[in-house]
Symmetry: D2
Subunit: 351 residues, 4 copies
């Protein structure tokens, strides 16, 4: 941390800052520049709130130097994390891309089983589907709850696809583990710290979506909650952030992929369905995400999008998904990645 | 809802749209303009996902006409909602402004009792303090939990201040009700729909903070979850949204106050502490919020901000809070509001 | 500037950074912390591009310490700048608030003269009106050009109001000076550096509006272009920034007022008309801006808003403006400011 | 346009709206729904300001139906526009991608000639370089002016590369045409309507960059200014928008590529250098842009980025650019595009 003093600050004020910083357990270096005096505070004290120094007289601003995240960073673990979706099954983070498909919400047994067979045939390794739906409006379809989980599990077993489903509460974290292979934490819950802890205390991998206006630091700190609670198998997911743009529901920000890969060992996939909000944009966004280095995609597929119960405007038909897979495969090859389903010996992806 | 067809759409496509809209239980009017044909769909079907129509061939876009919120709107209830913080005690939403103060986190018994007496003397009607802290970083202070609630309750009883504290889980909603007068739902949980439901199923008033990038519609829909679950006593709170601005932690958007007052009957207060993130901005932001029509303020006050455990940079000393109260009182009078503690017969605020 | 090295950086990389920084004419201090080595570079070299250091091997990031603006800052001039709108006339930046009113565009001689008399009677000191309209759409009304300037000048003379009008090109800077008292540079031209230079090379005061997504630093740097070109009489104007909010056209960010007042000596006013985009929000936004410490307001007033040629939805009638002035006056008094027209001996405003 | 009346609006208010809409030359259809009455206004009157209706009593909101842009839209011209950078030379908008490289600023004759030869050898078809630099800070390097243009022209002739350079004023539009093949209008000038007009009145193609917070509609309306002034050869360029993200200077929003291709016939390229602001992100962003359907790239290349005069942190070395070109070529092939320099008979790109 660097404390920048104002030009008119006094020696007494400087001394007071040095004292407070020392109280925090940090050592100080004073540098007197042409226009400013700064106090460089050395040491790693993530648990003290350093904004306190802002309240001292004569302080212009505080500039942090260390990133606030740690166990998610490459400093702690250089090699990339490869997450097995099922024991010995497909992986995320290796050379092979993991493509997950499925409807926004599980609507019926037939619906989810049909979609599962269709996407499996197109090359997907995971099946998504919401049983508990966190809907913006209380008037919208809220999901089939545990019945939906049963259908999902059946569809997963019938096809061998790894089952992804969203958890909304600490209780879900236990219950869902009986049916699903991967627990998903949605964008709206990225900073639901109780939920992050609960997801960290169970053993299934966790797919963590970026919050609608979360910075990269907040995203990685959310992942740290899960890792610190005991679960190292975190898959990050970029799903678009909120900007002023109105032609898309969210703005997929692909530059977070190289940014994450520079500082973290965690794999990251993209959600082009929520990341755009419109079916016609899903294919270009999918190809772009893979070209930018994503480790996989999670895409909404519905047998009859015109009659889907939720997020209908962004769902692909199984036929459109199949066509997309052919195109994504070509882009994957052009960046030295493959699309086939996971094997045990995945090599780390190039980043 | 208006469905806008593309210029090159066919009659068959138009008929298909009319059929789908009719299936949804809506009646249709077709208007053939100079450049576009549009289908106006009449009726109130909030529970169907109309974005489904986007997937139909020949559709350019869907334009909603009805706001998605209902019980929070003035259409359902014209007169302004006045919330009693304690039975027969101070109110929010009437002519009198409710000022709530207190530290970000309860750190010790002495701290919270000292602050309570200080802010009471300055004219506050509520005491805030976090017992469970949802911190961005897992390395930050996480709160005193139930012990903190006990201290809060004691401070409330000693001073007569209404106690506000944040709930993070459904369990908290029950437990906290034994200690606090008002349950607070933080910005990060504004779309934690399970929590909203739980808060709606208990009887204490709820202070609902706007999410960091929530639209006004999403904000009011979150309030509707609480109201629909049985609790009409919702106080909205603007606490700043995330923008590109870097000189403030969040951008307090005061225009949401007249916007909410135009469409909703719910009271709305402002949080100038989180809404700016810097102590030096709290006074101007407080005065501005009252001038814009806010029904109250929630302000962070700490006996020793330089040593505060959380959000230290935005906490006021009790002396600074007292000075602020004098200034806010003058602005309140200039907009025909008062600052004195609540009485039973509050008149609705002018909006 | 602080250069933060990566944990795995080598001594050779550190030496290379030190050499490059030294080449820039800065002196270096190396601080070896527990997790990072940083190079503190001391000296004031605003004309070198320090992002170059980012390209060096082993560099994690560059952290600037000095603000990039200088002559607009309080370090160079402590006392607040008070700008005279006309020689010996009303001022901006003193204890008295300057309220400027008028239509978005000059539409006819009668229109502008009628509005001028009306707002003068309500207590305004300035008259605004666009002769050259920078319209987003080429199909929109583009203004009366020099004819409009003539009408403005006539209305100014008839009422004694200072005339404000927008300049779009370097040529306008000369021409407009013959008719107007204050040159306005619009949000879309805040970084039109040729125009800023031209405005700095003439002698009339300049009203500089913040760009739609400009940071405070960019805003003050734009002011520095004008000051450095020879014109110290710059009035800043907050007119809202672009965010995801959709219930207002722009989001007026009032926290920029205390932020500017903390670092700069320049006066700052607010534009609640463009800053909200809707007539019903103008009054609360005006009162809030004054409460937050603005030195004045610029408000759109039109004799017949229903038939206005541009930005019709945000224009007030003269009667609504008169009512607003009564309310603003009360808020002004509550923050120790006054609304009466300018006298010669203005005292600096409290900030 | 749809005018939505409030639930409590009267028949007199409805009649007044109908009268005003009729005055505008539009015909009206009244639809009485369950919750709202709406007035659908039919006709194409882009030159009247319809927000005026907002001021009428009983009006809740105005909903536009027609997009405000016209000549840039596919309704007016179905086939994609292919722009020749030089007569009979390389094109933008056809099956072949146009890659443009070069330094942010022309710094010396040798620098620009060296870069030109290097990028030509790597497969670029255009050379960029700024002679007049619009710098945020008045203390930054401002460019070599006409001398820089001479060097650019020489480098273009020596290599056969099409020369791109930025214009800042109406005068530049004339002068630059003597040296350059394509006039560039920067993000900060996207709504400098006088400049757009001037660029439209000369015959060289125009590269128009999206403003830092411009919507797609504003972007296309800016293009319409140029087209309406007589110049149909407009190349759009996405260069990132401003969001809250701090790990990148701007957020490249690739979803604008399919969005533009859906509604407009104009070609669109991407600027991954300004669109990210960091050299390490340029390669993934370049590959992503091509995968998303961009018609080309404009990339900053500098022989010695560590000593570049402007935007140093985002410049590639010629060697890094060469490596990038090899990778981009593979992605281009995977989406059925090619990288070779332009021929006369380009086929339209698939969109």
């Amino acid at each position: 941390m660097i404390v920048v003093m104002t030009p008119e600050s006094t020696e007494a004020q400087l001394n007071h800052v040095v004292q407070l910083v020392t109280e925090m357990g940090l050592t100080t270096h004073i540098i007197r520049g042409t226009d400013r005096t700064v106090v460089a505070a050395v040491g790693d004290k993530r648990n003290t709130d350093k904004t306190a120094i802002e309240n001292c007289g004569g302080v212009e601003k505080i500039v942090p130097i260390l990133a606030p995240f740690k166990v998610a960073s490459k400093e702690v673990k250089q090699e990339k994390t490869i997450v097995e979706l099922t024991p010995g099954g497909a992986t995320v983070g290796g050379k092979e891309l993991a493509i997950i498909g499925g409807p926004c919400a599980v609507e019926s047994r037939q619906q989810i089983i049909d979609v599962a067979h269709a996407i499996k045939a197109s090359g997907a390794v995971g099946l998504r589907g919401g049983a508990f739906k966190p809907r913006t409006s209380p008037y919208s379809f809220q999901g089939l709850a545990e019945k939906g989980l049963e259908y999902l599990a059946e569809a997963g077993q019938a096809t061998g696809l790894a089952v992804f489903t969203e958890v909304l509460t600490m209780e879900h974290c236990k219950m869902v583990g009986n049916y699903a292979d991967v627990l998903q934490i949605g964008a709206r819950n990225m900073q639901n710290f109780m939920l992050l802890n609960a997801a960290g205390q169970q053993s299934k991998p966790v797919l963590l979506k970026r919050g609608m206006s979360a910075t990269m630091e907040e995203f990685l700190l959310a992942a740290e909650y899960i890792i610190n609670a005991g679960n190292p198998n975190v898959i990050l997911c970029e799903r678009g952030v909120r900007t002023f743009e109105q032609y898309c529901r969210n703005s997929l920000n692909l530059s977070i992929i190289p940014a994450i890969q520079r500082v973290s060992h965690l794999p990251i996939i993209a959600d082009p369905s929520h990341g755009t909000g419109h079916a016609y944009m899903v294919e270009p966004a999918s190809k772009a995400a893979i070209a930018a280095g994503a480790d996989g995609l999670i895409i909404e597929v519905h047998p009859d999008p015109e009659r889907a119960c939720s997020d209908a405007g962004q769902q692909l038909t199984p036929a459109a998904f199949d066509e997309l897979m052919q195109k994504v495969k070509r882009v994957a090859n052009a960046v030295d990645r493959q699309l086939e389903a996971g094997h045990k010996q995945a090599e780390p992806a190039p980043n």
